[in-house]
Amino acid sequence: MNANPSSTTFTKPWLWCLLMALAIGLGWLMQSQGMSFYLSMLSRMMIYGLAACSLNLILGYGGLVSFGHAAFVGIGAYTVGILITEGVPSGWIGFPAAMLVSALFAALIGAISLRTRGVYFIMITLAFAQMVYYLVNSVKAYGGDEGLNIRMRSDFGFGLNLKNDLAFYYLVLLCLALSLWFMHRLMHSRFGRVVLAQRDDDVRTEALGFAVYRYQMILFVLAGAIGGLSGALMVNQQNYVNPNLMHWTQSGVLMVMVILGGVGTLAGGLWGALLLLTLEDVFAEYTVHWQFYVGWILLAVVLMAPQGLAGLFKRKPKGVGHG
């Protein structure tokens, strides 16, 4: 009999360690070859990847189709942006604050939205995100619809200068790695099991004695917090934040990344982000109408690869969750 009775697809830790080592090495290599433009590009992709992974937490694992996730990314970004503008540049305050504020909004939005089901849940999360968008849009003090420029990046002390592309790249990599590891532990824990169960059948889960609503709330808040973290990184990367970051179309982009990379896989959001943003950058080199071509590729993916990228490379899943 199998000594490890878990039915989850076994994550090969050595593979992840290898990837991490490669990423670290790649960064150093790029810096030393004077290709810091690509470093910055990679950082941007990883930040979107983190945002998409946080969405995957509720979408892929939780089975909750939230169409307002970009709001949490934007809230995180604005929290850091506003703090820096108001003279609080410390990253040690800014980043936790971004996660906390996003978590608070997620708690509020989740408390109401999670009482609904199906398409109504989709709509109400979308509505709340739009509300946040319009609210931020109207606050002229912090740029309104023109967005907010920040003069400097977050300051973490210890001589760490985030203006240095490599330093920033490593920060992003660290945040991404920690977040993914956290999500991995989360989904393999008791809590994670209940989340996956309610995705399969929430009525049955409730009928076993679990307060499903509470689990969904906690998951929603955690996803919001990690989304906020990606926002904090994003405003640093661009030295700018704009309310459009929270528009429902941005939530759509995140969702596209998740679907592309593989719904319900740990790093699906990351792969999807890497693919989508690479496609965009590549096509943008040749034509201003790159969206046209990217659109066709997305369409092809949906019609021919129902499980997304991850589905193409993995065997049929053996059980609960993936990766």
Partner: protein, 251 residues
């Protein structure tokens, strides 16, 4: 006289003009198998939904172990030991058979919200799950995905899942729905084995099984209980025969 584990007092439920539950009163004693029978449309489904906490009643009271649970939600009732199985199979399709049962065990043991320790490492949990699978005869299928089980095996697992929560009262909603004779027998044996250990309210259409298993039978027709008693008495009750058994015997 054995104490009543479940007491239903004058439960009422309307759906618009339709009275689905018409002042239903019944009780289930510790260790007994109390069957609930009735023709289609009698209101068995709504009654089960109300008792399990998925549907709110309009009036009446439900007492479980002398505690008023009328206003309690589904998961709160389960925590107190009132557990149901479903007529239409509700399993965790993407989980293995063992993981299905392990989840039920997890619900009543240990930290509910533990988010760091991997579940796979919990030997005790999986050993207990395996033991339960052994009891219900699905031990060899432990590593199979629940969705790959045959219909009959799924019905067995359906009951097994409810049993794994260590209930004080099992509310079995047509456990033999859609099963062939072999699987039906398996489930009958399973339920028979629970007699005297767990109180059971069994909702079923399979008359043979009902008359074999039940200590008492209540008959539900048009939302109301028209008779309640020992199987022998029910079988020969003219009202019951007229309203229900007559159709069944000719069917």
């Amino acid at each position: 006289m054995a104490d009543a584990v479940l007491q239903v007092k004058s439960l009422v439920k309307h759906f618009g003009a339709l009275c689905a539950t018409d002042h239903v009163s019944l009780d289930v004693r510790a260790g007994e198998i109390h069957a609930l029978i009735g023709p289609n449309g009698a209101g068995k489904t709504s009654l089960v939904a109300q008792l399990s906490g998925l549907l709110a009643s309009d009036a009446g009271q439900v007492l479980f172990l002398n505690e008023d649970i009328t206003a309690m939600s589904a998961h709160q009732r389960v925590r107190r030991g009132l557990v149901r199985s479903f007529q239409i199979t509700r399993l965790f399709k993407s989980f293995t058979v063992r993981d299905n049962v392990a989840l039920a065990v997890q619900a009543r043991t240990g930290n509910a919200y533990s988010f760091w320790k991997p579940v796979a490492a919990e030997r005790a949990l999986h050993d207990e799950a395996q033991a339960i699978l052994h009891d219900i005869g699905l031990a060899e299928r432990a590593d199979e995905l629940a969705q790959n089980l045959s219909h009959g095996e799924q019905r067995v697992l359906e009951v097994g899942l409810a049993m794994a929560t260590a209930p004080k009262l099992l509310l079995l909603d047509e456990p033999m729905a859609g099963t062939g004779p072999e699987e039906s027998q398996r489930i009958v044996d399973l339920i028979a084995g629970l007699k005297n250990r767990v109180a059971i309210l069994l909702v079923e259409h399979d008359m043979e099984a009902v008359f074999r298993l039940a200590d008492r039978i209540s008959v539900l027709v048009n939302g109301a209980v028209i008779a309640c008693g020992a199987p022998h008495d029910i079988r020969h009750d003219p009202m019951v025969i007229a309203a229900y058994l007559g159709e069944e015997q000719s069917a």
